[in-house]
């Protein structure tokens, strides 16, 4: 099986991405314009990831029951919990409780 080239390819490639601006390339050489927008990148990636979790699970094959509507409802409640409490744990509990409730009802 030719699995090793793929495994090493993705692993080494990902390490180079991680190391890029941390140690291989001087961040001072990153253009100022790029540096200015970088703080927005995590928010954008998280927003897209969230949309993709409604569109289809990131973890393909890990999808349990609970259709898109139950997931949307759970995300909305979790969002309110996150806004008010700023606590990861409360957000997790609120979202899971909502998902289970909506799944049981539908």
């Amino acid at each position: 099986m030719s699995l090793w080239p793929v495994i090493l390819g993705v692993a080494v490639g990902s390490f180079l991405l991680r190391a890029s601006f941390l140690s291989l390339v001087d961040p001072a050489r990153v253009p100022a314009r790029v540096r200015r927008v970088l703080p927005f990148a995590p928010a954008a990636v998280l927003g897209a990831l969230l949309a993709s979790s409604l569109h289809g699970p990131v973890a393909e094959g890990a999808a349990g029951p609970g259709g898109g509507l139950a997931r949307l409802g759970a995300l909305v409640l979790a969002g309110l919990a996150a806004w008010w409490t700023e606590s990861v744990l409360v957000t997790l509990l609120a979202g899971m409780a909502m998902l289970w409730t909506l799944t049981a009802l539908t």
Binding site: P5, V10, S20, P42, G47, A59, G64, P65
Partner: protein, 229 residues
Amino acid sequence: MSTPRTAFRAGARAILPFLVGVVVFGSVAGSSARDLGLSALQSATLAGLLFAGAAELVTLDLLARGAPLLVVVATALIVNARLALYAAALSPHMTGLSGGQRLGLAAFVTDQPFVLTWRGFATPLPSAARAAYFLGAALPMWITWQAAHLAGFAYGARLPAQLSLDFALPLTFVAVLVPRLRERGPRTAALVAAGLYPVCAGLPLQLGLCAAAGAGVLVSALRGGEPRA
């Protein structure tokens, strides 16, 4: 939390709630690796060196469909392209570290420790404490991922599907993102990216995520607003 030791502890405390999702995701990835016929060493290499759940699941999915080597590697690296953004955002904060230390730190760059550190940097910390905070969050995360991945490989994901525990992952994204939406820049970036994702989802090579996120960054940059470095 000004000394490295207290910063490390603060990072470790902050990552704790995230580990629930890591356990679930890691065991799913481990059992998927086994289903595909990877050896224990191959599975452990993915867990330890790749150390990126979404990219790993994409890799395994494409391998299972018999995609050619170059397509698999390229797609996984596109999914992981955000890690370069994280590295660039972390870099100015990791001053006073040797080249070797920065290289070592790089191995642990991944979503949750980064977003935590990103949030933590809202309050100024001395640079030594920043690296310690990041490592305090990243190290427990790495160890948990290895353990969950191994357990998933050995026992399969025995967690009942009825619980939908995979949903813990997007919930952790909500927990991190929503408090940041009070600021205009991140809010624009997140809303544009989320709104565009359904349009971009059809793009080939899993480019949808990158395209939507890129558009979000672009629009928020054009609108201006005060970024927080």
